[in-house]
Subunit: 379 residues, 4 copies
C-alpha cells in the first residue's frame, strides 16, 4: 500500500544522537518506512530498541551479514531498498561494500571510509552497479546553504575570488591535556579513526561545504596541523591554505581545541560583486553583502530555491535546523532511489565522500612533509 522507500538502519540505537537525527529526517518528508536493521551488538538491547521505535522483531538482525542474507530472501517488494550506515567510521567500508555488492542503495555517515583507497573502491562499486550512494555531509542540507549555492551559481556575488571556512569546536580540550585520557579516546586512536582526528571529523565538512557552495574544485592544500603533545598521534587542530583549479585561493581552519566553542562552523564566500556569510549556530540567516549596498539579511522562512522545491516544511518565522538539513538530504536520496536520477546539489554522493578522504590524506601528507603544497587528484 505505502509507496515509501523501505529503509534499513545499521547502528544508531539507544540514545545515539545520530540515530535520532537519521530516523526523524527519514520520516520528515514521508518518503521512507524504517523496516528493520541492526541497532546494537547486544541482542536484547537490539530487539528492545527496535520495538521501542515501532519496528517488528522479525526484521531485527544480529549483524549486517545476516541482515543482507535474510532480506534477500524476501520478495522484492518487501525487501529493503536502502540502508543507512551509522556505525563507527572503521566499519563503514566493509558494510557499504557488502550492501552495494548485494544491490542495496546506501546512505552513509561521513567520513565515508578510513582511507582514500577504500573510498575509491566503493566508488567503483557504485559506478558499476548504478545504485544510489549518499554521504551525509548534513550541513549541505540546510535550506540557507542550498540558497547560498543557488545564489552563487546565479552570479549574485559575481566570480568567486576568496573563500574561507572555519570549523571550531572545543570538545577535545578537557581530554587532550592528560596523557591518560588522550590515550583512551577512540578518536585519537589511529586504528579506530584513520589518519586524522580533527581534519577527518570536521575539516572534511569544511572542504565539502566550500566545494558544494562554489562548485569549484579545490586541488591544492598546504597544511599546518597541531598535535599539542608528542605522544598524541592525531591532529586536533589545523590551518590549511587551499587553491582551486581556477586559481581561487582560500583557507580552511578547523580546531577541536578552540576551548568553549560548541560547533562554530562558518563559511564566507567573496566574489567580484558581493559576499555571502553563514554560521551553523544561527543557520536560518544568510548575510548577503553587495558592493556599495546595504547588507541584506536573508531568512530561511522567506527563501525559495529549486533545491528545496517539493515541500516547504517550516511555518514562516520559525527556525530551521539540523533535522531539516538531514531531511533534505534524505529527500534528495529518495528522489534518486525512486527515479535513479538527481541534481548533484540535492545530496552529497559517493564522489563527495571519495574527495573527502582524498582531502584528509593530502592534508596530513602536506603537514608531515613540512607544510608543503600537495595536489589532490581530481579523478
Amino acid at each position: 500500500m505505502s509507496k515509501k522507500i523501505r529503509l534499513g538502519i545499521l547502528g544508531g540505537g539507544g540514545n545515539s544522537l545520530v540515530g535520532i537525527l537519521h530516523r526523524i529526517a527519514a520520516k520528515m518528508h514521508d518518503k521512507y518506512d524504517i523496516v528493520g536493521g541492526v541497532f546494537s551488538r547486544d541482542w536484547d538491547s537490539n530487539i528492545e530498541f527496535a520495538n521501542e521505535i515501532g519496528i517488528s522483531s522479525r526484521r531485527v538482525y544480529a549483524d549486517y551479514e545476516i541482515m543482507i542474507k535474510e532480506e534477500l530472501k524476501l520478495p522484492q517488494d518487501q525487501r529493503m531498498q536502502a540502508v543507512s550506515i551509522l556505525t563507527p567510521n572503521f566499519l563503514h567500508y566493509s558494510m557499504a561494500k557488502r550492501l552495494l555488492e548485494n544491490n542495496f542503495s546506501v546512505i552513509c555517515e561521513k567520513p565515508l571510509t578510513t582511507t582514500y583507497e577504500e573510498a575509491k573502491e566503493l566508488r567503483s562499486l557504485v559506478d558499476k552497479s548504478g545504485l544510489i550512494f549518499a554521504v551525509t555531509y548534513t550541513y549541505t542540507g540546510y535550506p540557507m546553504i542550498r540558497k547560498m549555492r543557488e545564489m552563487i551559481s546565479q552570479d549574485a556575488i559575481g566570480e568567486v575570488q576568496k573563500v574561507d571556512a572555519q570549523y571550531y569546536q572545543g570538545w577535545i580540550n578537557p581530554i587532550i591535556h592528560s596523557s591518560e585520557t588522550r590515550m583512551d579516546t577512540w578518536r585519537l586512536d589511529p586504528k579506530k579513526s584513520g589518519v586524522s582526528c580533527c581534519i577527518g571529523d570536521i575539516g572534511t565538512h569544511a572542504f565539502d561545504m566550500l566545494e558544494y557552495l562554489t562548485q569549484l574544485t579545490i586541488d591544492k592544500v598546504l597544511a599546518d596541523l597541531n598535535y599539542l603533545y608528542d605522544d598524541n598521534k592525531m591532529d586536533i587542530d589545523g590551518s590549511i591554505l587551499i587553491r582551486c583549479t581556477n586559481g581561487v585561493k582560500g583557507i580552511i581552519r578547523a580546531s577541536q581545541i578552540a576551548t568553549g566553542e560548541n560547533n562554530n562552523f562558518a563559511v564566507m564566500i567573496y566574489g567580484k560583486k558581493g559576499g555571502l556569510k553563514w554560521e551553523q549556530e544561527n543557520p536560518r540567516v544568510l548575510y548577503f553583502m553587495q558592493e556599495g549596498k546595504e547588507v541584506q539579511i536573508l531568512k530561511s522562512e522567506n527563501i525559495d530555491t529549486d533545491l528545496l522545491t517539493e515541500d516547504a516544511k517550516l511555518p514562516p518565522g520559525h527556525p530551521d535546523e539540523i533535522f531539516d538539513a538531514m531531511a533534505n538530504i534524505y529527500k534528495g536520496a529518495a528522489k534518486a532511489i525512486n527515479h535513479q536520477e538527481y541534481d548533484p546539489g540535492e545530496f552529497p554522493a559517493i564522489i563527495d565522500g571519495v574527495r573527502g578522504m582524498n582531502f584528509i590524506e593530502s592534508v596530513v601528507e602536506s603537514h608531515k612533509k613540512g607544510n608543503v603544497w600537495i595536489t589532490i587528484d581530481n579523478k
Copy 2:
C-alpha cells in the same frame, strides 16, 4: 507489538504546515503511531494524502462523526487513544466535545474554542471524564522556555517584579489597507474567528507564556486595541497593561501590523536578583542577567532541565527549534495518556486553553468599555 499511543488526526492534510509540524512532533520521541483520521473534506484527497503519509485506507474517514463511530467498533487495543484537532478554530469545540464524550483524549490546536463559554464547557467534560486534553501552545515546549520556567521557579532571578511580552508580526499589513481584501480574510471575519484577530491569534500565546514562565496568575487587563479602519471589526494590534494576583505589573504587546516582522515573539522577565530574556526567532539562546555580574548566554545544547529529562534530541551545538518544541508537548501528553498523571509544566492543558479564551474576551471588553481594567475570573 508496538507500545506506542494510537493517534488519530483531524485536519492538517496536503501541504498544511501545522499538519507537518504535528506529525513530525508525534513521531519524534517514538511515542505515537498515527493510525488514521480525516485529512480533507474531499474524499479522493483524503485517501491519497493518507496513503502518502503511510496510513492504511481502512482508517481514513469521511468526517469526525464517522471516525468516532467506526473507531468505537474496534477492539480497545486497536482503537485510537488520542486525537489531534488541527482544523480551523470554529470547529475545535464541536470536535473536542464529541471526542471527549466518547472517551478519546484530545490534543487540540489553540485557540481552544471561539468563546469562553465553550471553553468552560469542554473543561467540565475533561474534569468529569479524567481524559487528557492538551492545547498546543507550542512555544512553551521550547527547551529554553522550559529551562527559563525552571530557573524562575528555582529562584535564579529572585521574586519576579516586572514582566513584558511582545508578539509582533506584519502579515496583515498587505491585507488591511484595502477594504476589499480585509473583507475577504477569514481571520477578520467575526463569524469565523470569534471576537478577536490579533489577541486571539498571538496575544493569547503571550498571555499563556507569561503565566507558564512565572507561574503567576494574571488577573487584570487594561487594553487599547487597534482596528485601523472603521469597517474593520477585528483587532489587528493591541497593547495590554496587566496585573497579577500578587501585584506584579507588566505588559503584553501584540501586533499584526508591525510591517516587516515575521514572528517576533519575545519575553522578558525581571526579578529582584536578575532578569531573563528569550526571543523566538533565536530560540536556542537564553540571556541571563544577574545583578552586578556579566550577562550569561545559555545555549540549549548545554541545558539540563527536569522538564526535558527523558531524552535529549539534539546533538551539541546544533540549533533547536519548533519541532522540538511541539515534540516536547506531545511527549508530555504521551506520558499523561499512558499514566494519567503529569507535571503541569510538561504540556499546556485544558485549563490553559480556558484561561486563554477568558483572556481574549476580557481584553476585548476592556477596550470596548473605554480602556478600563477588567478582571479575569480565575476559577
Copy 3:
C-alpha cells in the same frame, strides 16, 4: 582670531561623566572654545579643575550669578555667548532664567526643569529674547537616529501606523528593596527630583525620541506606574499607552527595575510600507524592514543624511557613539547661535524641553487618577 563660539559651563567638574561628554562634544567639531564657568562649589576644586582642563583662572567663578555679572563687564567679543547647564535638575530653572534674562544662549541638560510651569516660563523668555536654547536629549543626535528621522520623513516606511519605545535599566534594583537606601536616594526624593523618577529621567527620552523620529505629536497618555513599595513616593517603572493627534497608537515602556539591564533604549516604528528598529546599545546599526523584501542593515559609516551634512567625523567601519551624538547637538546649536536660524531636526530646542515636562506631569496624573487618558496640551 578664533571664530569659535565662546562657551561657559556650569557644573560637570571632577570625574562627572556628563561634564566629560559635553566638553568633548563641544570640541569635536571645532566650533566652541570653553572659556570659563563654575565647576564646583568648593573654590579650590573649582580652580584646580578649570586649570586641569586648560581654562584660565580669571574666568573661573564662584557661582553663576557672579559669572553673569563678570562676563557682562567684558567686551562683547570676549564675553561668553552660550552657557551649558550640567547641574542637578532642580537648579536648571533658576540658572537658565537668569542666563536668558542676561542675553546668553543656553545648552541645558534634560529634564529642562522640575515642573511644567517653570518650563513654560523659560519658553516665553526664549520666545521674547530670540536666544538659542538647546536641551540635550542626547540620543536624538545619534547619526542613525537622524538617518531614521529622515527616512521616515521621506516616506521610506510609508504612513506610520504603530510606534513602540522601550527604555529599560536596572540600576535602581539594588536600592529599591531596602527602605533605608530608598529613602537616601536623591532621585527618589520628590523635593530634589520633581514628581517622577523613572518617567522623568528616561521615559521622557522615549517620548522625545518618538516625536523626533516620526514628527507626530503625542497628545494622549494612559499610564500605569509602579512604585513597588508604599513608602516610595516616586515611580521606578511604568507602561504608558499613547495616542498621537493623527490617531496613531503606540506605547512607551520605561523601567529602572529591569534588573541586569544597563541602558536598553530601543525604538520601533512601523508604517504601511515597512519598519525601522534601532537599539542604543548597538547604535551604529539600523534595521530597515520592507514589506516583502529582505531586512536591510544600515550602518552609520555608510549613511548620508542632510542632518549630518557638514562633516563626517568617523572613519568608515568604525563604531559611532555617544560623543558623536552629543557633538551633533552641539554642532546644531552652534549653527543656530552663529546664524540665529536652524532646522528643527538639528538639535532639541526649548519646545522639546517644555513638552517633556508636560509629558511627565500628564503621565503621573494619568496614573494617579486610576489609569485614565490624559490629554497633553500642545501649545
Copy 4:
C-alpha cells in the same frame, strides 16, 4: 598655567579622518594642548585650517624642517614636546628621524616606515635619546582589548594554545578589477606604499594585536598572498600561518577583496581553560568562554582594568569606540612623556612599529619564496 603637553601635528588637515581622530583623542583626557604644526602643503589652506581649529597662525609652519627650526628657538617651556605624524607612510621615516634628532617625542601613525631597515634606524635613535615614541596601532587602545590582555595575563583562559586574527575589508574590490584604476591607486604603487598593500596596511594590525593580547612573540610566518592580476605588484589579500616562540600555532587572515566587508577585524584567543573573542565592529563587547560554563558577555561599561585606571570616560551603558581607543593611546603616551616611564600595555611603542615592519617583509618573503617558513628576527 596649563600643565598640558604641548603637541604639534604634521598632516591631518582638511576633512582628513585621521586628523580628526588624533585631535579629538589628544583632547579627550585633557592632557595635550595642540599648539601648532603643518596641516597642508598649500600655505593658504594650512593657515586657514589651523585657524579653524583654533591654532594661532604664529605656529603654523610651511614644512616640518621649518617647524623644527622655529620651535627650537622658543623657550623650552613653550616649545612643542611631542609631535604627531599623520602624513602618508613614505614620509614617516624622514620626519620621525629629524624630530628625534632634535629632541621631540613622536606619536606616529602606522606603519612606522616603509622598510624594516628604516624602522630599525628609528629605534636606535629612540634608544639613544630616551625620547618617547608611540605608534598608533589604534585598536590596542580599545577598553575591551585592554581588558582582554589583562584577563589573558591573569590566566583567565589558561595557557594560550591557539590564536586566530581576521582583518577583512572589501574596499579595494571596485578598484582592483580594472587595470586602469589599479595603476592609479597609491596603495598599489610600491614606490609610495612599500612592499605590501594588504599586509602592510591591515595584516600588521592583526600581528600587533595578537602579540599585544597574548604577550607571546610570533617568530615564524608562512604566507600565501594574493595579487589577483599579474600586473598588480602589491598583495591585496593573504593568509599567514604563524608560530610563536613557545610553539603556539595560529593564523592571520587579511583581505581587501572581501567584498562587502567594511572593517571586519576580529580576534579569537583560545587557552587551556577558555577562550576570548572580540570584534572591532562591535567593540564594547567581549565574549568569554570557559570550559563547561555559560558564555559570558563582558561589556565595556562594566569593566575595570589597570590599563584604564585614570579615568573612565563613558557613562554606563553607552557605546565605547575608536575615540576612546585612540585617546587611551594618547593618554599612555602623555604619561610616558611626563614621567619618562610607562607600562608596555599602555601604548604601542617603537619596538612594536619595528616588529610590524619586520613582519611585513617576512610575509612577503615567505610568499615570494614559494610559501615557506620565514623566521622573524626578535631582537
